[in-house]
């Protein structure tokens, strides 16, 4: 005859395994949408990611810093499903300098938790994090702006998707 502890333990851990199974089923139920596998479901669209106004480009202690504002228009609602906790959406500046083969800097981010918030229409918003280089090599540098969204599921794989916005060269002189 089993003791109460053995039984309680058995029921609880069996239950946990069932929950694990349910979670995995939920993940599988959304795989087609995640992978865009033979589906005619709508896909997320990035309309614009572009610099609205460059406010300043200066060197602070040997490190270049640019402040700017930009416009973002995108519709990420198709990325949502019941296995998604949130999207981590950010504006990414990507560029190459003599010192670094690749520089990636996040300028602005937003956590989108519901489908209703996933339609982005922001005009002339100020950067949350300045565009700061590792050295003083921002002048006359061509910068690509992207909108990237990271899928944070309840269960399953974390993955990112990205839409190209625009490309712009920073001025040759500080101002």
């Amino acid at each position: 005859m089993h003791t109460y502890w053995v039984r309680l333990n058995a029921v609880f851990f069996y239950g946990l395994n069932v929950l694990l199974g349910l979670s995995c089923c939920a993940w599988v139920s959304c795989l087609q949408q995640d992978l865009d596998f033979h589906s005619d479901l709508p896909r997320p669209v990035v309309d614009t990611v572009r610099v609205n106004e460059l406010l300043s480009l200066r060197a602070h202690g040997g490190v270049d810093r640019a402040l700017l504002s930009f416009d973002v228009q995108a519709d990420l609602t198709p990325a949502f499903h019941w296995n998604l906790k949130q999207l981590f959406v950010f504006v990414l500046a990507e560029y190459q300098t003599p010192k670094n083969e690749l520089n990636q800097v996040i300028l602005w981010d937003r956590i989108v938790e519901t489908e209703e918030q996933a339609k982005l229409d922001e005009r002339n918003i100020y950067v949350k994090y300045a565009l700061i280089d590792q050295a003083n090599e921002l002048r006359n540098t061509s910068i690509n702006y992207y909108l990237v969204w990271d899928h944070m599921p309840v269960t399953g794989r974390l993955f990112m998707d990205k839409g190209f916005g625009s490309k712009k060269i920073l001025p040759k002189e500080y101002f």
Partner: protein, 184 residues
């Protein structure tokens, strides 16, 4: 409560008397421990990560990760990109931190310097790094989060966090036992 404890002690005494049973139980326990260890080491090898599975301990990544969420890490050689959630460890500090990469500067040689920040924190992590440290390097990173599991881990951390809950559960059970015996 006391009777349960006494009963357990009696069981243990019985086990101690029966050396053969004791050995059997001991071997059983060893098998459980060693197979768990084997799975862990196997995962370590596959993912090249020191700790392939971690439980989130702080709320600095909320709402993406709550305390108790389970993360699966991968530390294979492919380069780290901005936006990824990484687990890193600062030298001379025990507890690894789960945060998001906000900046990546990669040299032609492949050497990379990273800056991280928690989604729920207002400022980046430079205050958390070792004094004078401005960037994380590849070696500081234990792995990137590739998968997550929410509720399953939550249950275990609830029990861990509130030991009182365990006792409440136990006393409810005890009550059941008592009432049931009287009925029968």
């Amino acid at each position: 409560m006391l009777e349960i404890v006494e009963d357990q002690i009696a069981e243990l005494k019985k086990l101690w008397k029966n050396k053969r049973l004791l050995l059997h139980q001991g071997l059983n326990l060893a098998m459980i421990v060693f197979s768990a260890l084997m799975i862990w080491k196997g995962l370590m090898f596959l993912t090249k990560s020191e700790s392939p599975v971690v439980v989130v301990l702080s709320g600095s990544m909320e709402p993406a990760f709550q305390r108790g969420d389970i993360l699966f890490l991968n530390n294979q050689a492919n380069p780290i990109r901005v936006g990824e959630v990484v687990v890193f460890k600062i030298k001379d500090r025990d507890i690894p931190i789960v945060h998001r990469v906000m900046k990546v500067h990669e040299k032609a040689s492949g050497a990379v310097e990273l800056l991280t920040k928690g989604d729920n924190n207002r400022v980046d992590d430079r205050g958390l790094y070792a004094p004078g440290q401005l960037w994380l390097e590849r070696d500081d990173v234990l792995g990137r989060a590739v998968g997550t599991l929410r509720y399953v881990g939550m249950v275990t951390i609830i029990l861990n966090d509130y030991p009182a809950l365990k006792y409440v559960l136990v006393s409810i059970m005890g009550l059941f036992v008592l009432t049931n015996k009287e009925e029968a």
